[in-house]
Amino acid sequence: MIEIQNVHKSFGKLEVLKGIDLTVEKGEVVTVIGGSGSGKSTLLTCINGLEPIDTGKIVVDGTEVHAKSTNLNKLRQKIGIVFQQWNAFPHLTVLENVTLAPRKVLGMGKAEAEAIGEKQLKHVGLGDKLSTYPSRLSGGQQQRMAIARALAMSPDYMLFDEVTSALDPQLVGEVLETLKMLAEEGMTMICVTHEMAFARDVSDRVAYFHKGIMAEIGKPEQIFNDPQHPETQKFLASVR
């Protein structure tokens, strides 16, 4: 369970998160939508402790993320994250990309890590690219590899930050399919996305962010058919 309680966060003078409260249950898929600069990405990087927060707290499975005593490297093993920019490690093959963290962080043996890596890469449809270098992959393939890389750590939670927005339109579909598959398998997920159809189909709940505030959260039918907050209405009108 991820519990976010009254989180405030500023970059210098700019307050980016202005008191966010959100609880994500095990097995739930929460989609976050909202305008550019509303703080969506920042929230995700706070959840796995890549960014510090100012006040409030974030608790993941009973561990307070920003407590001094927390071993962040350990915590991050259970929270996978995939970013908008493809972050392939260019000097490693696809399989090596995926097995690096299991081997070095979890201390797995080579054979074991490769078995897991292959399984995850097949899972995302890259079973035939194991020894290819990332520069030979399309953007969509790179994103799927990044997903497999995160999955290879057997995370309990997955965070996705606009994983399709840097892709060519024809590559978006394959990545969204992968996300859908994960959701169906019961993964707990927070997805920041601009793909409204995806949000509507896959989410248990949809949250709308506006200028550092979670303006509205609810079932997808409610948010998309009957938005309460005027900003949500405006936003949905603009993206349709």
Partner: protein, 217 residues
């Protein structure tokens, strides 16, 4: 072609000088690179303001002629601190720091060339700072830095010609000694220049080649 009084013993003498050039260079580049990586990482880690003293210290080695660095180090170690270091030791110490000063810049550039997002991805997989450095930053930064580093190593070899001021008889000094005896400056200088060229040129080419190859992918 040349009518020369150069004897086999003289050639051995020259070879010894060349050996000294290579030894001084190898030691200095080895130590300097280790220090340079250390300083470079510290500078990146601390940020511009906190690392300012280190930056200033390293900057000195890039802003004062090597000849003066050698003379001063020599004078300081001996006259002021009364440490009995050999000229060879002084030469290696100064050249190591000289190398480190340039190497730190190269390392900084190399680390800077690794996209922040890639490092973020590594950390988000649960890798520690050290693992990120070891498995992601080091291999990627090396590709960027290696060509410049080769250039630096060759530069140090050429600059090692100045260690004669602390009584280290390297190649150019050996050549000058032979010129004293044999009075064939042009011929001897050609041999000396050819030696530097033969070592430096292929490695410089290799650096250029690597730079081209790695900047393409």
């Amino acid at each position: 072609m040349f009518d020369t009084a150069l004897s086999a013993a003289d050639l051995i003498f020259l070879a010894k000088g060349a050996g000294m050039t290579i030894i001084v260079t190898a030691i200095s580049v080895a130590i300097g690179t280790v220090l340079g990586i250390l300083f470079g990482v510290i500078r990146v880690q601390l940020g511009a303001v906190l690392a300012a003293p280190l930056t200033f210290f390293l900057d000195i080695f890039r802003s004062v002629p090597l000849l003066i660095q050698l003379v001063l180090a020599n004078a300081f170690m001996g006259m002021v601190l009364h440490l009995r270091f050999s000229g060879f030791t002084i030469a290696c110490m100064v050249l190591s720091l000289y190398t480190a000063a340039y190497c730190a810049e190269i390392v900084r550039g190399g680390i800077g060339a690794v996209p922040a997002t890639t490092r973020r991805a590594a950390r988000s997989l649960g890798m520690s700072w050290w693992q990120d450095m070891r498995y992601i930053v080091a291999p990627l930064a090396t590709r960027v830095a290696l060509p410049s580093w080769i250039g630096l190593a060759l530069g140090v070899m050429k600059d090692s010609a100045l260690v004669y001021v602390v009584q280290v008889t390297e190649l150019l000094k050996s050549t000058q000694i032979l010129i004293t005896r044999l009075q064939e400056p042009l011929f001897l200088l050609m041999i000396c220049g050819a030696f530097y060229f033969i070592i430096s040129f292929p490695l410089a080419r290799l650096g250029g080649y690597l730079e081209k190859r790695w900047s393409n992918d």
